[in-house]
Symmetry: C2
Subunit: 240 residues, 2 copies
């Protein structure tokens, strides 16, 4: 009830807290995203996680805490992984395209979690909803900065950046949200490169187009093989 961002735990051993919370959150995310927050009962989470109901209250203050930490993990993954994948890339057009690819492929690795983040933010207590919204905005800014640099440096014609960034974000989320429709029609890398054709390419200057062509050549037409297909590096996922 004090700082909205903190979650109390009765258990003191930090290592154990981390491990147990991971175990419980993994089960919770699956259930929440399948059936929704309110339908899922704490007993179901406990059963799926292989622990007792009481144990959950040793590691979380209440059910809302569970949702909050679940959402928080998703957004922190974005915030951590996207910059990591952009490291060492200098050219703004490369950055933008790689940013889109990174975002989409992280989404791909966390489809359930992404859907959850989309659908369940409103189920959080109001003070926490704002924390989550801020993190969302921070992620958007990552793509926004890439876009801005493209325009600033004359690779792209001036456009309504605000709106276009929003299109980028929904495009990436859509891979999770409408996955049932898209995944039959595209591979992930097709999806990204089609997206780039629709949402990046049309706005490039001649200079920018040259850069995109070069990127395409280097990455073999955005085929997955040549792209850095790193694992999302989920922290300490033990099995599978």
């Amino acid at each position: 009830m004090k700082s909205p961002g903190h979650v109390e735990s009765v258990v003191t051993d930090a290592k154990l807290v981390e491990q147990r919370r991971g175990q419980i959150l993994k089960a919770a995310v699956k259930l929440f995203s399948e059936k929704g927050y309110y339908i899922t009962t704490v007993q179901q989470i406990a059963a799926k996680a292989g622990v007792s109901t009481g144990l959950i209250y040793q590691y979380f203050g209440d059910k809302d805490d569970v949702l909050f930490l679940a959402l928080n993990r998703v957004l922190e993954t974005y915030e951590r992984e996207i910059p990591r994948r952009l490291e060492g890339i200098e050219h703004p057009v490369d950055q933008l395209c790689t940013g889109l690819w990174a975002y989409c492929s992280i989404v791909d690795g966390m489809r359930e979690e992404t859907v959850l983040a989309y659908r369940s933010t409103k189920s959080l207590r109001a003070d926490r909803r704002n924390l989550i919204k801020e993190k969302e905005t921070k992620t958007n800014r990552l793509l926004g900065e890439c876009l801005h640099a493209c325009i600033e440096q004359g690779h792209m014609n001036p456009v309504n950046e605000y709106l276009l960034v929003y299109q980028y974000v929904t495009f990436c989320h859509a891979w999770a949200l409408k996955g049932w429709a898209f995944r039959g029609k595209f591979t992930l890398s097709d999806y990204v490169s089609e997206g780039i054709a629709l949402l990046v390419e049309p706005f490039l200057t001649a200079k920018g187009r040259t850069a995109l062509d070069s990127l395409r050549r280097r990455t073999n037409g955005f085929s997955a093989e040549r792209w850095p297909k790193q694992q999302p590096a989920r922290p300490r996922a033990r099995n599978n």
Copy 2:
């Protein structure tokens, strides 16, 4: 439990059923979209609608029925109003742009309902979820046909239609979903014309561009005044 699309009512007078359901749904939509389906109690709906809890069960079989009819109304409004606004418009580019405008302005008139449709479809019983999804698809097809005609008749270069239509749809929905962020920055008609600049204009052929220019001249740069700003014609809304 028989046909998933039908909702039982104890009351026989069809006129009265229509009126009462409207009254109850209006309250329900407001509460559902503010607080979510599961948090909202039937007693709250009753209180807001100014009736007793028992009465709700005279007009709906259960709580799920209330949500279903609420969502159904939203989608039926789209399905009915968009074609109505396209009537008499021949040129495909005009059709597409007017379709986007129509969709956005209907969304604008039903912001709460649109958000509800987005967030709460998963709260429906499974058989009904599909009915709703079908209606959604049908609406998307309206824009899809406009886009297809543009390409077919050489006003637009070939693009990935499937993906672009999806961008159109999310663009229109975004006006309701991210309204808190957008409404400070754009008027609705600014929003639509910026959207057209981003998602239509870049793909036009020379021929198509001429058509768009002409449309812009006729509509005064998409300013709201010159567009057909019809009321959404919500059926029998009495007060305000």
